[in-house]
């Protein structure tokens, strides 16, 4: 079952070629871009400190970030009278990255299904062929041709919220409480690249659970980890690939899957965990298909239907001309 990244790329290239041969250019089934970057989140390394959440919220509120508002305040989500802890329940227009937890029975054994628990990081997956980009009627959501990061332009957006309905992962959120609303989601800290920085969740992760880098290398790293023997020691890279910072730890048994290699046609954010991804809250109904293809199969017929219907109408009119 272990399909490699290369198989995936071959497959998507094949789909892309078919698309070029049969349909107008830019058809669904895109390939990984040349400089595609992403994350590898390894739940077995995550200690649930939420450093990624704190720093994500701070950095995302800087100019250019998805949480930035001209007032310059950081959108903390306090619960009750507690004005100390930012405690969001889920992703929202105020939180674009969250650590959640799976728990079973006594909840004592880390990364185990029975009587165990596991953390999971939820954020935009930055699909290789994103549903949200394909459905946006005004191209407010776009995929960077080099990095592949799915970014948002609030000046084009009309606020139709089709992206929210289309995203199989349910990621885009809306600022409901304002008359000047926008869509909010993780943009992989694209506003920090020009200074040589990378996503805050990876930069400030103390264990290397969140790792930034080129997607192909992240996929290789993930496959390498799956091949390790549980109990053996491994130097897990920290921060970003090539940082030369490592955290030496014992390998825990992985659930045999790199999540994101095939789901929704492949995503630039990949996950590893000790328990299955269904248990971590990923919708098992998500298919291994690039979602835009579902609509493109219809839209590509539209030009032919236009011609057919116009001819049928004219012919119908001529044939029945003498009807009383």
């Amino acid at each position: 079952m272990a399909a490699t990244r290369r198989d995936f790329i071959k497959l998507s290239a094949g789909v892309g070629l078919l698309a070029v041969a049969g349909e107008p250019a830019l058809a669904a089934g895109a390939e990984l871009s040349s400089g595609a970057v992403g994350l590898l989140y390894d739940a077995t390394l995550c200690i649930g400190c939420k450093s990624c959440m704190v720093n994500c919220k701070r950095v995302s509120s800087e100019p250019g970030g998805p949480l930035y508002s001209p007032g310059g305040t950081i959108p903390y989500e306090f619960r009750g009278n507690d004005r100390i802890h930012d405690s969001p329940d889920d992703l929202s227009a105020k939180t674009v990255n969250i650590i959640k937890v799976y728990k079973d029975g006594s909840g004592m054994r880390k990364d185990k299904v029975r009587d165990g628990f596991s953390f999971v990081k939820r954020q935009c997956m930055h699909c290789i062929d994103p549903a949200c980009v394909s459905v946006c009627p005004v191209a407010a959501l776009t995929k960077d041709p080099v990095t592949g990061v799915v970014g948002y332009d609030g000046n084009r957006c009309i606020g139709c919220r089709y992206c929210m309905l289309a995203c199989p992962f349910g990621i885009p959120k809306f600022t409901w409480d304002t008359n000047d609303p926008k869509i909010v989601k993780c943009e992989l800290c694209r506003h920090r690249y020009k200074d040589g920085d990378y996503p805050a969740c990876c930069e400030f992760c103390p264990t290397g659970a969140s790792l930034f880098g080129p997607v192909t290398e992240l996929a290789r790293e993930a496959e390498r980890r799956l091949a390790l023997n549980p109990g053996s020691e491994y130097a897990f890279p920290m921060g970003r690939i090539g940082s030369n910072r490592y955290s030496k730890r014992k390998v825990v048994g992985y659930f045999r899957k790199v999540y994101g290699l095939k789901e929704a046609g492949g995503t630039q954010c990949l996950l590893l965990a000790g328990v299955s991804f269904d248990r971590l809250g990923f919708n098992p109904g998500i298919e291994d298909v690039a979602y835009p293809e579902f609509t493109w199969n219809y839209i590509k017929k539209v030009p032919y239907l236009i011609g057919l219907l116009l001819v049928a109408g004219a012919v119908g009119h001529q044939l029945t001309k003498d009807r009383e």
């Binding site: 889920d90 606020g159 309905l165 609303p181 919708n283 609509t295 236009i306 116009l310 003498d322």
Partner: protein
């Protein structure tokens, strides 16, 4: 203007009630424009689309299908017997689109950017396809309804020109409508990960088209019956029987497809499992398809105008439920699992009522002051 239409009294309690509804609707619209969607609607991150989209937009456009079906019958297939209902049918279509456009204006987060899709093209988006259809088809409906106004104004040369391009406009309009009805179904093709298989299939666009034809025919029939009573506009009963046969034939095809896709993509058991989705599926099928079809298969029922009116109301109700099912109830299980819930607010309901009142009032206005019931 003849004696018959001049006898329509404009300032009745009925009209005043419409004005009251419009005023209340306008008030709630102002509230939405001032405070935004979160304040005015029950929408949230789990239910990004609600009643305005499911009822006003999807329902309003399906309601408008009568316009293209009747125009197609008369101008393309030359079924002249339906001429007496051509103008009301096309006007109803125009008003249905008006309802959809007003709802869209309010439903999008930035109403004053409604024009963006016309300039910022994105051909991969069904939403863009839908937007372009709305623009082109509303224009076409304007041309198709213009003879009424031109006759009234006695602009003979423009009238002659419009009559010359009428068949072309209708062919173009039928093409747009067919695609538009199905494109509204295609909007949901990408949402399969959260939709119940009771509705989701790759054939969804065509299910939207077929059910819209049934609803359009029922709508035209119902509206002609009300006109007959309210505006004393007598229509030959053969017209109603013909429309009823059309509804019957469309529903038979629709029922077969519904059963086929129920068995293929889901299961009969899923419809009877007592879940919200299952119950709504049964409601939609009983009200909109099975009961009306049973009535129409009875020859005596098919010749009784009262029975036909009952069928019309059932079919319209059933297709409206279908649109709410596809856009809301099919996602119930997915949404509940994510802690989401949605119920339309007073604003959403009152704005919808206000828009329906506006449509009814405009229809009355046209019946009174324009040659709406003449054959053109």
């Amino acid at each position: 203007m003849n004696q018959q239409t001049r006898s329509i009294r404009m300032w009745t309690p009925h009209t005043l009630a419409l004005f009251l509804l419009m005023a209340v609707g306008l008030g709630f619209m102002a509230y939405r424009m001032t405070y935004g969607l979160g304040a005015a609607t029950g929408l949230n991150d789990v239910y990004p689309w609600g009643f305005w989209l499911g009822f006003d937009v999807l329902g309003g456009v399906a309601m408008a299908a009568g316009g293209f079906v009747i125009a197609c019958a008369i101008y393309i297939f030359n079924w002249k017997k339906y001429k007496p209902i051509a103008r009301p049918a096309i006007l109803t279509a125009f008003l249905g689109y008006l309802m959809a456009v007003i709802a869209l204006f309010l439903d999008i987060g930035h109403p004053f950017r409604l024009w963006h899709p016309a300039v910022m093209w994105q051909v991969h988006s069904v939403m863009w396809v839908v937007a372009i259809h709305v623009i082109l088809y509303t224009t076409t409906l304007g041309i198709e309804s213009s003879p009424m106004l031109l006759e009234k104004m006695s602009w003979q040369r423009t009238l002659a020109l419009v009559k010359k391009i009428m068949v072309g406009a209708v062919v173009f309009g039928v093409m747009l409508s067919t695609l538009h009805q199905s494109s509204l179904g295609a909007v949901f093709l990408i949402s399969g990960a959260r939709m119940s298989r009771l509705w989701y299939s790759q054939f969804l666009p065509y299910m939207f088209l077929i059910s819209a034809v049934a609803m359009g025919l029922a709508m035209v029939s119902m509206e002609a019956m009300f006109s007959a009573r309210a505006f004393n506009h007598k229509v030959d009963r053969e017209v109603f029987i013909g429309l009823a046969v059309g509804v019957r034939n469309t529903l038979m095809v629709y029922l077969l497809l519904k059963i086929f896709f129920l068995v293929k993509n889901s299961s009969v058991a899923a419809a009877f499992d007592g879940s919200v989705a299952g119950n709504m599926y049964l409601a939609e099928m009983l009200i909109g398809v099975i009961i009306p079809l049973a009535l129409l298969l009875n020859g005596r029922c098919r010749r009784s105008l009262n029975r036909i009116l009952l069928v019309d109301v059932l079919v319209i109700g059933g297709v409206l439920i279908n649109r709410l099912n596809v856009s809301l109830f099919s996602m119930d299980a997915w949404s509940v699992a994510r802690g989401g819930g949605y119920f339309p607010t007073g604003s959403e309901l009152m704005v919808t009522l206000g828009v329906i009142a506006l449509g009814t009032f405009l229809f009355k206005l046209a019946a009174r002051y324009l040659p709406l019931f003449e054959e053109g």
